[in-house]
């Protein structure tokens, strides 16, 4: 279990007054303090960690968020922002003395402009909700994390979420124009707007992916894109992960960047096939799912090229979808991968390191060796085009030793990612999960620099404490340079 900081006794002692203060700002049922009703907020997508907060407040407007932050800042109360609670890194894990600010009631679409190719939405609108609001005109919002049905755009901004299709369209940071941002002092600030590349410091870029360390986002202006005429997938199966890795390199160097390029290893193929019956070849060591976009003619031309590239690597089999239905069948196993692994093992940890794609065979071999050494099974599924790995480490949550081993195994994988030139997290964020590994990737001066920037926004370190930065440095203002 991860260490959480001790609660501030003087804050817990004032609990009733703090709750009353919140109720004065957000009337009705917008403040939750009964222990039973706090239970849904005690964890997020990283459900191994649980801690009920002191209270939850559910504001319905930017003005309420500002008033809540002003009040909590004056009271010295820690704040944990929360969207849908789908973080896989514990980004929304509460503290016993913290107030969770849940943004799910701020779920209005405020403006859509097709000529300007943008939408202005509140932070609690779901990722898929944006696409639903614009798809009637043939548009979509590009980043597509696998939790897109539930996850909210405010959380996407805070974690800089990715998805399977960011190989072509980029991650959240590449698809934003502006934010409405509330500081810990309760000041409302407009960042950017409806135009590209606002002059001055790139606050938009700094705040995106800041994991709730700098302030709370209440409105987001996103770029919306006209969808391609269609898309189609192909599947290529290989006899070894080395060969599949070489095929990935060849595709990336070919001049044709697919919209998605997904990789599954043998355990993952078997788990997905048993679950989804997608027709995956069970004799393969590695499987690539490759998707292209465009008109039918364009899809034909691109898929023919990709098929030729794959053919150079002696594939066990290649299956090119000839219809949208066949494409869906190819994707069916991949999209159900987490659920499929969940059927084999009730508990698993989903890791999220990124590596240079050339290191793929080495990293998979080393993960296999670690799996043997730890005695824990692992299934690998990842975004191969950008080197973002998602090893799923299977363990038994009823067995404390199994869980500790799984955590240690995960940490070893992430250290390996850094060792080969990659990073700790490609799209899930540091959260609490990888907090203590930060010194593996950053030097002490680099961490101190990041902490000083955090202090510039949040001088008393009230915003989402115990996340991102190692605990010994995670609770107090950074020393001045």
């Amino acid at each position: 279990m991860i260490d959480l900081p001790p609660p501030k006794a003087e804050v817990l002692a004032r609990r009733d007054a703090i709750v009353a203060g919140l109720q004065a700002i957000v009337p009705g049922d917008g403040v939750i303090a009964e222990p039973l009703r706090l239970r849904p907020y005690e964890t997020d997508g990283l459900s191994a960690y649980r801690q009920p907060p002191m209270a939850v407040v559910l504001p319905t407007s930017t003005e309420q968020v500002a008033a809540v932050l002003r009040f909590l800042n004056a009271e010295g109360v820690r704040v944990v922002p929360r969207g849908a609670g789908t973080s896989l890194s514990g980004g929304a894990l509460p503290l016993a003395d913290a107030v969770v600010i849940g943004l799910m009631r701020m779920n209005r679409i405020l403006d859509v402009s097709f000529p300007d190719r943008l939408a202005v939405v509140e932070a609690g609108v779901t990722n898929l909700g944006i696409t639903k609001a614009v798809e009637g005109e043939g548009f979509f919002y590009a980043p597509d994390p696998s939790s897109q049905l539930a996850c909210m755009i405010g959380g996407n901004v805070m974690m800089n979420s990715g998805g399977a299709h960011c190989l072509k369209y980029g991650v959240t940071a590449n698809n934003l124009l502006g934010l409405k941002f509330v500081t810990i002092e309760g000041e409302v600030v407009e960042i950017g707007g409806g135009h590209l590349d606002a002059a001055g410091y790139d606050w938009l870029g700094l705040i995106t992916g800041s994991e709730g360390q700098l302030g709370i986002v209440t409105e987001v202006t996103v770029r919306i894109l006209r969808a391609a005429e269609g898309q189609r997938a192909m599947l290529a199966a290989f006899a070894s992960t080395e060969v599949a890795g070489a095929a990935v390199d060849a595709i990336m160097a070919s001049g044709v960047i697919p919209v998605a390029l997904e990789f599954m290893d043998r355990p993952c193929i078997h788990a997905c096939e048993a679950f989804a019956h997608a027709g995956y070849p069970l004799d393969a060591e590695a499987l690539l799912i490759i998707e292209v976009e465009g008109s039918t003619e364009e899809q034909d031309a691109l898929l023919a090229r990709l098929r030729d590239i794959c053919a150079r690597f002696d594939p066990i089999s290649v299956r090119v979808a000839t219809s949208a239905e066949e494409s869906l069948a190819i994707w069916k196993g991949r999209k159900g991968a987490f659920g499929a692994v969940g059927r084999i093992s009730p508990d698993y940890l989903c890791m999220d390191g990124t590596i240079p794609t050339g290191e793929l065979p080495l990293v998979l071999r080393r993960i296999g060796e670690m799996s043997e050494a730890y005695g824990l099974k692992v299934a690998n599924v990842f975004h191969a085009g950008d080197g973002n790995l998602h090893p799923l480490i299977m363990f038994d949550a009823n067995d404390a030793e199994s869980f500790h081993k799984a955590e240690a195994f995960g940490a070893d994988i992430l250290k390996l990612c850094v060792e080969v030139g990659g990073c700790l997290t490609g799209e899930h964020g540091v959260g609490v999960e990888k907090r203590d590994l930060m010194p593996v990737q950053f030097t002490p001066p680099e961490l101190a620099q990041q902490r000083r920037i955090k202090s510039a926004f949040d001088p008393d370190w009230l915003l989402n404490p115990a996340k991102v930065f190692p605990l010994e440095g995670a609770l107090s203002p950074a020393n001045p340079a």
Binding site: P115, A199, A228, M252, G294, P356, S455
Partner: protein, 396 residues
Amino acid sequence: MSDVAPLAPGTEEGIATVLRNTVSPILVEGSGTTMGMLRPVQAARTLSTRNLAGITLHRPQELVISARAGTTLPEIEAALAAHNQILVPEPPDLRALLGVPDAPPPTIGGLVAANLSGPRRITGFALRDAVLGLRFVNGAGEVLRSGGRVHKNVTGLDLCKLLAGSHGTLGVITEVTLKAGPAPERTATLVIPVADEAAGIAALSTALTSPYGVTGAAMLPKGARAGEVEGPAALLRLEDVEASVTYRMARLRAALPGGAVLEGEDSRALWRAVRDARPLEPAPGEGVWRLSVRPSRAPAMVAALRDGIGARVLLDWGGGLVWAVAPATAEAHAGVMAAAAAAGGDFTLFRAPDSLRAAVAVIPPEAPALAAIASRVKAALDPAGRLNPGRMRAGR
């Protein structure tokens, strides 16, 4: 500006040593091509990264290239071209626009520090989006890294984005790692004569809201010309594999009849001219501004710039980017500020005499709450306030 020869160490440690051992303000630059932008810096010494040269890592199959900050744009483009790759944001060469046509070419560190992007910006990627990692030296002389050399990385605060566009006020960039993209197999441009800006932006919007993946959407106004192409005309670029360009050009022409198509080098030359804002050709006494706005508000803003200060313009990014040229006066600057504010957009003063640049707000003022944070962020990176003081805003 400084009369003393610039300090131009050949190593990152040399840069750090200068910063650790200097107490007075320092003008930080690459090859100095963009020093005519924004406000003039008053500093006793100049620190240049121009001697930090060379490509340090190039993995074509991973679409990654790293180079020391003083490496010039042409060197990086040539290294990528050898593997049929490009920088997707196509950073501009603004030497002619900024009145220093004979200066050495821009460095990659300088371009990133200014976050300058070309026509392909509309596809979603500014230069800052192509930055996978940075090495830099902060004002205290500490060598730091942010990001890395992989394509997806959300580990810690993204200081790459903060440094990009900070014009050397927060740190001295010493090495840049960039994401590359495949060079398009074919490029072609549809040139459509239009009546005015409203009609031109409508044509650009039709193309940009189509599924045809337009990678350039600019407009030459009446009186402007780029090579053989004369305004008023809307310009739409397609870049992709052969079959896609053929198919999509036919569809675009069906949606927007009456145009002509430029292929290959003719198309490339046209977009280099747009990228570098060549058609503007400012006279010595003229100022240059760059405004960014929602495209639908550009026609009214352009009208205001013409009526108010007699500006000549050039439009890119589907109408969202407006270059304006007018006499370099405080009145003209006030007119630009008013036009940008009325359109809900913003502006940057790119070229003017030092006297004007020192006297006006060269970018829009910040809200007080943000200004307070900005001062603290500046102090967090440059505690003594020595790096390019006053470059972006007076007193900071």
